[in-house]
Every structure is written in structure tokens, then in C-alpha cells.
């Protein structure tokens, strides 16, 4: 397939739009970060606050970076699917097809064929989470190290779980709390609410612990290099030699491996909880009974 000039121009436009978001976020961060040399372990920067009647709405780095991630993923998808054809031919089409097929097979093998429509949702959660965590690589605040982001996703998943538990009617749903023995109902209710809490805290804690440990190690290395090379004259004395390279090793684990693993685990748990909460056998029986009733009426 021969690439014409228009095709290349649209490609470059997509890539530019994709990188525009992170650049804007970096500019905002540079403009708003207060100057300090101290150890800086803080939450998201609050850019400005919108006055609302009920309560003020702070627009923080979390929201801005989430929108940036969504924006970048959108243009990345446009770039990857640009110029796909039935016969194929572009390398990016192979990647796009690989992503779609992998997600579909993952969803089908973990959730069963009833939930095969869930592939886009699972892929979206995975991409959002992975790219949010990878945002640390360009020095931005990862939205996943704010509890509000992950709690939002976990609440969404909680609603989905409850929706699929309600598929057999409210009576069946209430009965499911007294499952092994009725007096365990309070514990079942607690464990129902523990699901989103544990999902939110797991993702948030992993990303946050990575950034906290990275900052602590960087500060410790600065102090250590000051202790060792402090006697050198002039510029060499104040230059933190030990900070070169060593924090990058930690970053490979905490930022790349841990971030991608947590994205995978969040998506995996979403799938398992939703398909585990759905009473498949009872739903099939109920469906069959309804069909029989309808047949009798006819």
C-alpha cells in the first residue's frame, strides 16, 4: 500500500494531537509547582477552585491528567486504526488486531460467552489504568496515585456487579446474602462493600507506594553522594553523582512493571467479580421458565 501525502499528514496530525495533551499538562505543572528544595511528597496540585453552591470543586492535577490520558488514548486509537483495510498491509493494523483479539479471548475465557460484549469496557479500563500509571515516566502526577480516581472506577465496577446480581430479580438478590446460613448475612453485606474498597485501595496503594519509595530513595542518594563527594572542589562537590542511574532501576519496577501489573489485575478482578456475581444457572432456569410460560399463553 502506497502512502500518499494526505495520509502521512493525517498521521502526523494525530501524533501531534496525541502529544499535545501531555505537553500542556507539563506546562501547567511547571507553571503551578511552588519552588522548594525539600523532600516533596504531596498529593495532587490544586490548580484552581470552582465556586459551586453546594461545595467548592477543586480542579486538581488528578482531573487534568485524567482528561489528558483520555485525550491521548483517543488520538492513539485514531492513529492505530487509521488506514486499516480488509487486506491489511500496515504494521499498526497488526497491533490493533492483536489488541482486539487478545482482549476478546481474555474476556471470553474469564467471563464466558454471555459477557462477550464486555471486551471494550475491559480494554478501556486497562488502557486508562496503564497509561495513567505510565504518566510518571514523563514526570507528571499519575491520576491513579489519587484515591479518588481508583475509587471512582471501583464504584463503577460495584454498580456493574450489583446490576448483574439483580438479573434474577430483587428477591433472589436479597436471598443471596443469606447464602450458606442466614445468620451470616451481616458478614456478607460487609464483604459486598469490601470489594470496591479493596479494589480501590489496592491500585492506589501500589502506585502511591512506588512514588513515595522513589522519592525517599532519590533523597537518600542525594544525601549519600553529598557525604561521599562533598569534599571535592567547586561544582563537583555539590553534584549528586549517585542520583545518576540508580533511581532508574527502581523506576523500571515501580513505574513500569507495577503500573502495568496493577492495570492487568484491576481489569482481571473486574471481570472475575462481575461474572462471579452473576447467577448464571438460576438465570438460565428463570429464562427457560419464562419461555415455557409464554408458549403456554400462546
Amino acid at each position: 500500500m502506497k502512502k500518499c501525502k494526505v495520509f502521512l499528514a493525517v498521521d502526523i496530525l494525530y501524533l501531534l494531537l496525541m502529544s499535545l495533551g501531555p505537553l500542556l499538562a507539563i506546562m501547567l505543572k511547571v507553571l503551578f509547582t511552588p519552588q522548594s528544595d525539600d523532600i516533596n511528597i504531596s498529593g495532587a496540585l490544586v490548580f484552581f477552585t470552582i465556586k459551586l453552591p453546594i461545595s467548592d470543586l477543586p480542579v486538581s492535577e488528578t482531573q487534568v491528567n485524567s482528561v489528558v490520558v483520555i485525550w491521548s488514548i483517543f488520538w492513539l486509537c485514531k492513529y492505530i486504526t487509521h488506514g486499516i483495510s480488509v487486506r491489511g498491509g500496515l504494521k499498526r493494523q497488526v497491533i490493533a488486531e492483536w489488541i482486539v483479539e487478545k482482549t476478546k479471548s481474555l474476556v471470553n475465557s474469564n467471563m464466558g460467552s454471555y459477557f462477550s460484549d464486555f471486551a471494550p469496557f475491559v480494554a478501556a479500563i486497562m488502557a486508562l489504568s496503564a497509561f495513567s500509571s505510565l504518566l510518571t515516566l514523563i514526570g507528571l502526577f499519575p491520576p491513579t496515585s489519587d484515591i479518588n480516581t481508583t475509587a471512582g472506577w471501583a464504584i463503577l465496577v460495584f454498580f456493574l456487579i450489583t446490576y448483574y446480581k439483580f438479573k434474577c430479580g430483587p428477591i433472589h438478590y436479597l436471598k443471596s446474602f443469606g447464602e450458606p446460613v442466614p445468620f451470616l448475612a451481616p458478614l456478607n453485606i460487609i464483604s459486598e462493600f469490601a470489594t470496591p474498597v479493596s479494589m480501590a485501595f489496592r491500585h492506589y496503594g501500589n502506585v502511591l507506594s512506588g512514588s513515595v519509595i522513589s522519592v525517599l530513595v532519590a533523597v537518600a542518594l542525594k544525601g549519600l553522594s553529598g557525604l561521599i563527594f562533598g569534599k571535592l572542589p567547586g561544582f563537583l562537590g555539590s553534584f549528586p553523582f549517585l542520583q545518576i542511574g540508580i533511581p532508574a532501576v527502581l523506576s523500571v519496577y515501580f513505574d513500569i512493571f507495577s503500573g502495568l501489573l496493577q492495570a492487568f489485575i484491576f481489569a482481571m478482578l473486574t471481570m472475575l467479580y462481575i461474572s462471579g456475581g452473576f447467577p448464571a444457572e438460576d438465570y438460565a432456569i428463570r429464562k427457560a421458565k419464562r419461555a415455557m410460560k409464554n408458549n403456554k399463553n400462546v
Partner: protein
């Protein structure tokens, strides 16, 4: 006297954060067991290495949760709790 009280608050928060991280023992043992069993399984059946690794990573992440709860509490005790407690103290004293 007030300095002493604030010092006790800060020290208590730091000690509490340290004590909370004792919970790190649990996930350590749990994940170690999981990885050991996964190694055994791969040794017995090398052809299902991919599945075993995926399941092991899942299990490790779920076992890590209790440790992360402790971590979140420790971080709260270090970065959030001292300010709150000192505010409560100052309000109680009336300053």
C-alpha cells in the same frame, strides 16, 4: 507544656506508622508461599508456565492487599494525622 504535648503527638504518629507496617510480614509470607508453589507447579508441568505465572501474579496482588492497607494507614499517620491531631489539641487548649 504545649511543646511536650505536640512532641508526644508526633512521636506517637511515627511509632504508630512503624507498628502498622508490621503487617508487611503477612503478605511477605503469603507471596513467598504462592511463588514457591508456582515454581513447583512449573517444575512438574513446564508446558503450563504461562497460565501458572498469570494466576500467581493475580494471587500475589490479592495477597498484597493487607500489606497495602497497612501502608495506606502508615502514610496517613505520617502525612495527615499529625496536623489533624495538633489542630484538635490546639482547639482543646483554646489557641
Amino acid at each position: 507544656m504545649l511543646e511536650l504535648a505536640i512532641g508526644i503527638i508526633l512521636g506517637g504518629c511515627a511509632l504508630g506508622a512503624g507498628a502498622a507496617m508490621i503487617a508487611g510480614i503477612g503478605p511477605g509470607i503469603g507471596e513467598g508461599n504462592a511463588v514457591a508453589k508456582a515454581c513447583e507447579a512449573i517444575g512438574r508441568q513446564p508446558e503450563c508456565k504461562g497460565d501458572v505465572t498469570t494466576t500467581m501474579l493475580m494471587g500475589c496482588a490479592v495477597a498484597e492487599t493487607t500489606g497495602l492497607y497497612a501502608l495506606v494507614i502508615a502514610i496517613l499517620l505520617i502525612f495527615v494525622a499529625p496536623g489533624r491531631f495538633v489542630d484538635v489539641l490546639l482547639n482543646a487548649v483554646g489557641k
